[in-house]
Symmetry: none
Subunit: 244 residues, 2 copies
């Protein structure tokens, strides 16, 4: 089934570059409903346009500006909030993967879902977080934990996209199989030829090691799913060296 | 158990901003070994510093510059390459999650792992991709699929971090290390030797096909995770045929 993408709500974002990079990241993963709460430098924003790399001109993409989180979430029924720190707050805290799992469960129940992100400087404050149904804490390196705003947006949209294509049976990656694989008899013909040449060059010494050495050679060429063309290349290499 | 983070290799990156943002994204997820192949604007780069948000001053973080992929992967045994398109190339293609699973399996076997990313303009070309053991294609919105370079780096490092903390929490996977895998410089030495022999036997005719023929040969021997012992067997085979 096809789920409606969640909306992404940026609360008091500062840099146009980050808003633009968020737009690009969202649309890369099929998320196209961006809501800005009090963007510091107003909207539209030239610096955002450059970083959006065309996302803002895409007909499916929409940006709207709101004065507070309440307005921005007017139609949202399941709201997640991202936070860098795990707060002392009686709310479920999920990592990014668990959080998106929960969000998709809500969407499957027909709920409109959204995710709020705080501004670059200090993230969401407690009054913002309290509005959410649950918190997402992106697990990362605790010695260098400050993730760029647009990068956080990317990770969340990526997880959402990935989990929804798992649900959507029509988006299976087609198996490309135009190449003609060598079959076992073609492979064995090559190995026999190589062994016979190596017998003539006295490669297999001492004699009692011959069997295990042949096994090793066979293992090398059996393991890598050779195409018929590649097998012919190997024949050509041997012929070329012999002739010289 | 604690796995050593993979190295991230950016091939001919253009914008310092993207390199800097990649540094921050890497260190956010505990990845600290960045290798630059021919960065367009040189290195160090002031614009990178601003976007790195302190990552470059972190004592655990390291950046080195190399002249080509071969040099940059000298100590790498399991190499993944990211590509936006699924190429007609006989290599395994994974999505980001599967690819990182495979990489961690390789790391658990004691192999040094790396991931290469192409530049902003056109990504990695076929000669680059052929050097990798497998390809990663980040599944996304096919109507707006161009992901910013640093965002791609982020997604891969995030998946790596997340999967390794999963390992931390569950039982340790035993390290299988009876076999010594060949690293990329040992493999490249073999391929260079073979190519040089084939040059002397006039294998590569007509001349305009030389490049694509070399790519094909490289693909054959890159794909099957050769052990050092197997690589020595291949050297021995060639020496034996030449001597005869």
């Amino acid at each position: 089934m096809k789920l409606l993408a969640p909306c992404i709500i940026l609360v008091e974002p500062q840099l146009g570059e980050n808003i633009g990079a968020s737009c690009r990241a969202m649309l890369n993963f099929g998320v196209s409903d961006l809501r800005l709460v009090n963007p510091r430098d107003g909207w539209p924003n030239i610096k955002a346009n450059a970083m959006a790399a065309g996302a803002l001109e895409d007909k499916t993409f929409n940006v709207a500006v709101y004065k507070d989180i309440k307005e921005a979430t007017y139609d949202v029924s399941y709201l997640l909030a991202t936070t860098a720190r795990i707060r002392d707050m009686n709310k479920p805290v999920f990592n990014s993967k668990e959080g998106i799992d929960k969000l998709i469960i809500a969407q499957n129940q027909g709920l409109k879902a959204g995710i709020i992100f705080g501004g670059e400087k200090s993230g969401l404050n407690n009054e913002d977080l309290v509005k959410a149904d649950a918190l997402i804490n992106i697990e990362n390196n605790q010695n260098f934990s400050s993730i760029n705003l647009s990068m956080s947006v990317l990770l969340i949209c990526y997880e959402w996209f990935f989990n929804t294509i798992k649900l959507d049976k029509t988006t299976d990656i087609p198996i490309k199989n135009e190449k003609v694989m060598a079959n076992k008899s073609e492979l064995n013909y090559f190995i026999d030829r190589l062994v016979s040449i190596l017998d003539s060059t006295n490669f297999f010494t001492p004699d009692e090691k011959r069997k295990v050495m042949i096994n090793n050679i066979e293992a090398i060429f059996t393991r890598n799913n050779l195409t018929l063309q590649e097998l012919n290349t190997l024949h050509g290499i041997i012929s070329s060296i012999i002739r010289s």
